[in-house]
């Protein structure tokens, strides 16, 4: 296969305790650490391994969002991606818009495989892979914990509520990855230097010929209701008594 596209979303780092802005317009991002969505590092690692096995020629990382996402794309290049594409957009896009943008890049690059995270940990949507596959008219293998390629077929094991499901899909197609697919590599300093020379193209939504449409409106963000700290018991007898007291045992 020629090309694999990997989605890299810039998100608030998973270690940050997210706070809602007092005006309810979103969450605090000033001075907050931003990172590659953790699932996307796994997606990229998988693409790199496929390439290293000689089953693909080129790995292209793609991010749709603010120009600051260049940072995350550079990290992706340092991990080993060959090229990066940033689709610059300051406005907030809906998942369907982003899916249409990815579809336009798939067409432009004639990509045969798109590997994404199973969810972005900001919006927790878990939608892009499925939407892209739908508008592309191609298969989706979501929540992957094992991927095996053979010619133009992929056998994918998926983490589902019942356990592990295996499906076979014909490529081209979309795979979204779960946590246990692989362990992403660390970026080494020389790779960061090398990555500075790799191509990072910037495209606008207009250039791609995608029309963004009004969709679901974000009305307001609010903090969740907090659970209160409860009581501490001294020993197992105290625990049993407390449970009995609540009628739970």
């Amino acid at each position: 296969m020629q090309k694999i596209l990997v989605g890299l979303k810039r998100v608030v780092d998973y270690n940050v305790r997210v706070r809602v802005k007092s005006d309810g317009s979103g969450v605090e991002t000033d001075g907050v650490k931003m990172s590659i969505n953790p699932f996307d590092e796994i997606a990229l690692e998988e693409a790199l391994r496929i390439k290293e096995r000689g089953e693909a020629e080129e790995v292209i990382v793609v991010s749709v969002g603010a120009s600051e996402a260049q940072q995350q794309l550079r990290t992706g290049l340092a991990m080993g991606a060959d090229r990066a594409i940033l689709v610059d957009s300051q406005e907030s896009l809906t998942p369907l818009d982003v899916a249409r943008i990815f579809k336009a890049i798939v067409d432009r690059e004639s990509a045969e495989l798109v590997i994404l995270g199973k969810q972005a940990i900001d919006g927790d949507n878990s939608q892009l892979g499925q939407m892209l596959a739908a508008i592309w008219g191609r298969p989706q293998a979501t929540f992957a914990s094992k991927v095996e390629l053979a010619g133009n077929k992929a056998s994918v094991t998926r983490e589902v509520d019942a356990g592990l499901e295996t499906i076979e899909i014909d490529l081209p197609g979309v795979i979204s990855v779960d946590l246990r697919l692989n362990e992403p590599r660390y970026v080494k300093l020389p790779d960061i230097m090398k990555a500075k020379k790799k191509p990072l193209d910037q495209l606008s939504i207009e250039e791609l010929g995608v029309e963004v449409a009004a969709g679901i409106k974000e009305v307001t963000y609010e903090p969740p209701s907090e659970r209160e700290r409860g009581v501490m018991v001294d020993d197992v007898a105290g625990l049993v008594a407390a449970l009995k007291d609540k009628g739970l045992v």
């Binding site: 969810q119 356990g163 592990l164 946590l179 963000y221």
Partner: protein
């Protein structure tokens, strides 16, 4: 008036409890007429169960060998064909619904709302984002079909005492053959299902091995509880993936949750926010799990758990 199509989740022989919870969410929309559709190889048994659910006006069945396994690429075009005339199409936010509903929405050319936790009006909803650290109110356009998944931990199943009509439906849709089911491997147990159990006992990295998990199973069996785990315990291979509780695992709402040797990372807490009573047993009194626990015990689990199991005789 809203007309809502709920996609039934099932394993070919029985209805998954997520369906009754999805119906409960649909029923919280004012003046809603709710239909449930069962897509299956043979739908009678599952449809019979769905017809008993309160608030359901009609059950539709779509039968065919292609529907033997729930492949999103195969089901989605059929649901699109069925969706004409409905104002809403809902599925559960289980792996079944999360896989399927965005594909349905994109084929319909609309966005999808993930994880509805509260209905405000027929077109505005609350949903958690950022691992539940923020609650977002969203508004769907009034002139388009609303496609959504329902956060099942937020809803109690509707009762079953109903006797809705069952109708077979035919759909005219072109189905792809690019996606094929190969097999499913599940560590099926006799223990209560994690997602619907009234009591759940979960173990974390502290257990240290698959063998040590036996003390968790013993306690769970004494309580009649389901068993869960933290991501660290699953990653380490102590237990299978379907036991993971949290932001990227299962979101659950049992009456009683015991977190044993689990630190209480935000991603884990997201999965148990709606539990009735949270009990934490951890040897570190500073562990963040104690900030949300209703009852906390600082102890070595290898001593405390056998003692607790014993005391519950």
């Amino acid at each position: 008036m809203s007309k809502i199509l709920v996609i039934a989740e099932h394993d070919g022989s029985s209805l998954n409890p997520s369906t009754a919870k999805t119906v409960a969410c649909a029923a919280s929309i004012e003046a809603a007429e709710i239909h449930v559709v069962v897509l299956a190889a043979a739908a009678a048994a599952v449809a019979g169960e769905a017809a008993q659910l309160d608030s359901v006006a009609k059950v539709l069945t779509v039968e065919g060998p292609e529907n033997e396994h729930a492949l999103a690429a195969v089901l989605a075009p059929q649901i699109v064909a069925l969706s004409a005339g409905y104002s809403h199409v809902f599925g559960p936010s289980t792996t079944f619904g999360k896989d399927l509903m965005p594909r349905v929405a994109a084929l319909l050319g609309v966005n999808q709302i993930s994880d509805i936790m509260l209905v405000l009006t027929s077109h505005s909803f609350k949903r958690p984002v950022y691992a539940g650290n923020a609650i977002l109110t969203v508004e769907a356009p009034a002139d388009k079909v609303v496609v959504a998944t329902v956060r099942i931990a937020s809803y109690a199943a509707v009762a079953d005492g109903n006797n809705a009509a069952i109708e077979s439906a035919t759909v005219d849709a072109e189905l792809p053959d690019h996606t094929r089911f190969v097999g499913v491997q599940s560590g099926a147990t006799d223990r209560p299902d994690l997602q619907t159990a009234a009591k759940v006992v979960s173990g974390g990295r502290a257990l240290g091995s698959a063998e040590s998990f036996d003390i968790i199973y013993a306690l769970a069996d004494k309580l009649g509880a389901g068993v869960g785990a933290s991501r660290a315990a699953v990653d380490a291979g102590y237990v299978p993936n379907e036991m993971q509780v949290g932001q990227t695992g299962k979101i659950i709402a049992p009456d009683l949750y015991l977190a044993i040797g689990i630190s209480g990372a935000i991603q884990h807490l997201t999965g148990i926010k709606d539990a009735g009573t949270i009990v934490a047993i951890n040897k570190d009194e500073e562990a963040p799990i104690f900030e949300v626990a209703d009852i906390g015990l600082v102890a070595d689990l290898f001593k405390a758990i056998p003692e607790l199991t014993e005391a519950l005789d």
